[in-house]
Amino acid sequence: MPLTAGLRKFSLTVHVSASVGWLGAVAAFLALAVTGVTSEDTQTVRAVSIALEPLTRWVIVPLALASLLSGVVQALGTPWGLFRHYWVVIKLLLTLIATAVLLLTVGSIRSLARRATEQPEISVDMQGMISSLVLHSGGGLLVLLVITVLSVYKPVGKIRVR
């Protein structure tokens, strides 16, 4: 189902905006999480723990889903296809993995924010959760950078169906 030129441009604009926005939002998340791990000030760590939740819920998750959906639309509506080129398939797989890990992490982030709101002190496992979030967002950022590189370079390789 090929898209018209106008729809293709619109879909591409949505896809690029969502994908680059996702990358930037994860970078902001990582900066906050690192602050939470390195700071010795309880109020700072609590503030960071609370701030991570709306950033994830209202920015990162919607951008991730928009990037995934617009990417699929873009692939299906253009000659690139979804399963014709290796770079498109790998990009799709990486996006699916990144989105799945993100959605799995949302529960931890919500729990961390709730506890930071309810408890005046920072417990050991709360710090462990923030450290885990540093790891997740750092890994996620790397994956998103790889996805960006694939999108820009579009390395050759057609999938041949026998």
């Binding site: 293709r8 253009t78 690139w80 992490t105 529960g107 931890s108 050991v124 496992d125």
Partner: protein, 89 residues
């Protein structure tokens, strides 16, 4: 990537054409793929497999990290730092 097959011999078949949606390819990566799976895809799979293996080994060695961690009920433990003392000026 060059326009040579993996075995080093010149490629005989015509170059593969890409969808013409953007500017013409500038990089060698975008020219004349060899038949079969490209080298960069094999490298990608190798790196991905190694990373998954390393994560699995780290988990077995006591890292204890995995998707299941996100489903564990939260536990209350000792505070690392105490809240600021409101009585101090």
């Amino acid at each position: 990537m060059s326009n040579r097959a993996p075995d080093g011999q010149a490629k005989l078949e015509p170059p593969e054409t890409e969808p013409r949606l953007s500017s013409p390819p500038q990089s060698d990566l975008l020219q004349d793929p060899p038949t079969g799976m490209p080298r960069w895809v094999k490298l990608f799979i190798l790196v991905g497999f190694t990373l998954v293996l390393m994560l699995g080994v780290a988990q077995l060695l006591g890292g204890g990290h995995g998707p299941g961690r996100h489903f564990q009920p939260s536990t209350v433990s000792e505070p690392v730092s105490s809240p600021p003392d409101s009585s101090t000026p």
